[in-house]
Symmetry: C2
Subunit: 216 residues, 2 copies
């Protein structure tokens, strides 16, 4: 694809395929921009377009405060996507939301081997699915929209050189472990995007990865 010159415009249309769909997407993006403008001044244009899309997808301006993006996240993620490397998601809801990517989007939560690993090691299915992906030589962007235990498994495998990771969108949600798992990712050298605190979830994850795909 040719060089992008207007990140916000490209990212504004968000999969709309009719004039009415486009009109709604553009109107929504303008409202989002006005709501969070002051909170996104420090971001690059690419980063700003990602945060705007997250706020658009959740209708929750608090995400402009909660979203933290490491300096190398956009660059490393776009490089991975341009090479057509895989995307790995923790649950099928995230996979179902990924639009128009030329490469593979993988999710092993319902794979029969995943359940075997989970039962054998008494871990969550989401964590077992990450183990399975690493064993299957995954290499690309990891997108965690739901499960803190999946994110912790990613960090553990990365630390032990057992998983090839280009970047991580780490936005698990919930009151048990989500905050801590994201803080742990934020302390690593892995290129990443997180949401601070318990909030996050599949729409945030999908907004972030689709923003990046629209930028390649």
């Amino acid at each position: 694809m040719s060089k992008i010159t207007n990140y916000s415009l490209i990212n504004m249309l968000m999969g709309a395929s009719t004039k009415q769909g486009n009109d709604i997407a553009i109107k929504s993006r303008k409202i989002v921009k006005s709501l969070i403008k002051d909170k996104t001044l420090h971001l690059t244009p690419e980063e700003r377009s990602i945060v705007e899309r997250i706020v658009h997808s959740t209708a929750d301006p608090e995400y402009a405060d909660l979203t933290k993006i490491s300096n190398d996240f956009v660059k490393k993620s776009l490089k991975s996507l341009r090479k057509g490397k895989d995307i790995l998601t923790d649950i099928n809801m995230v996979k179902a939301g990924v639009n128009s990517y030329g490469g593979d989007v993988k999710c092993y939560i319902n794979h029969e081997e995943t359940l075997k690993i989970a039962k054998k090691d008494d871990i969550t299915r989401a964590a077992a699915a990450i183990q399975f992906a690493a064993a299957a030589e995954f290499n690309g962007i990891v997108v965690i929209g739901n499960s803190p235990t999946a994110l912790l498994e990613v960090l553990n495998l990365y630390k032990n050189n057992k998983m090839k990771i280009q970047s991580v969108i780490g936005v698990p949600v919930g009151f048990v472990g989500a905050k801590e798992s994201k803080e742990a990712l934020h302390k690593t050298a892995i290129p990443h995007l997180i949401t601070q605190g318990p909030k996050g979830g599949t729409p945030v994850a999908v907004a972030a990865i689709n923003s990046l795909i629209n930028l390649i």
Copy 2:
């Protein structure tokens, strides 16, 4: 399935399939209960279990204030599910999140006829997908987790006796039309669950329908 005696317990496990998964789900539900207890005292046990699951799924206690459930929603929805009637979702992310339902879960957003209808009438694909479902004699629970135009199309078809609807989970998200579409549903006689204001989305929709499925 036998009669449910403890809605919270049944609804607490939320698809977890290992001991660790169960432990996290139960711990999370206890935290949610303590956060929103005072706001759910007026609800029936079934309604309370739905709202708790929405707050669990979003880690956002504000949904205890925003969620409004019509008196007949639980009864009519459970009747529809027990008869094995269809579930219709506006986007595939919602469909991907529905767990363990014996009946069909339908989504026509990517159907080739849907795009034809959308282009011909210059409406959104989400609205066209609802038209297609009605023409295909859908009868059951409609779950709108994303698109205000899809929800408005449901209301329009219902008003004109062109769509058979047992209940509607209407939680579209966004700054353009979402609030208004939910207010319009709230004024009808259709058994419904909504979230007031711009907030809502696929995790809210999925939490609500999975709560109901766990109660049948």
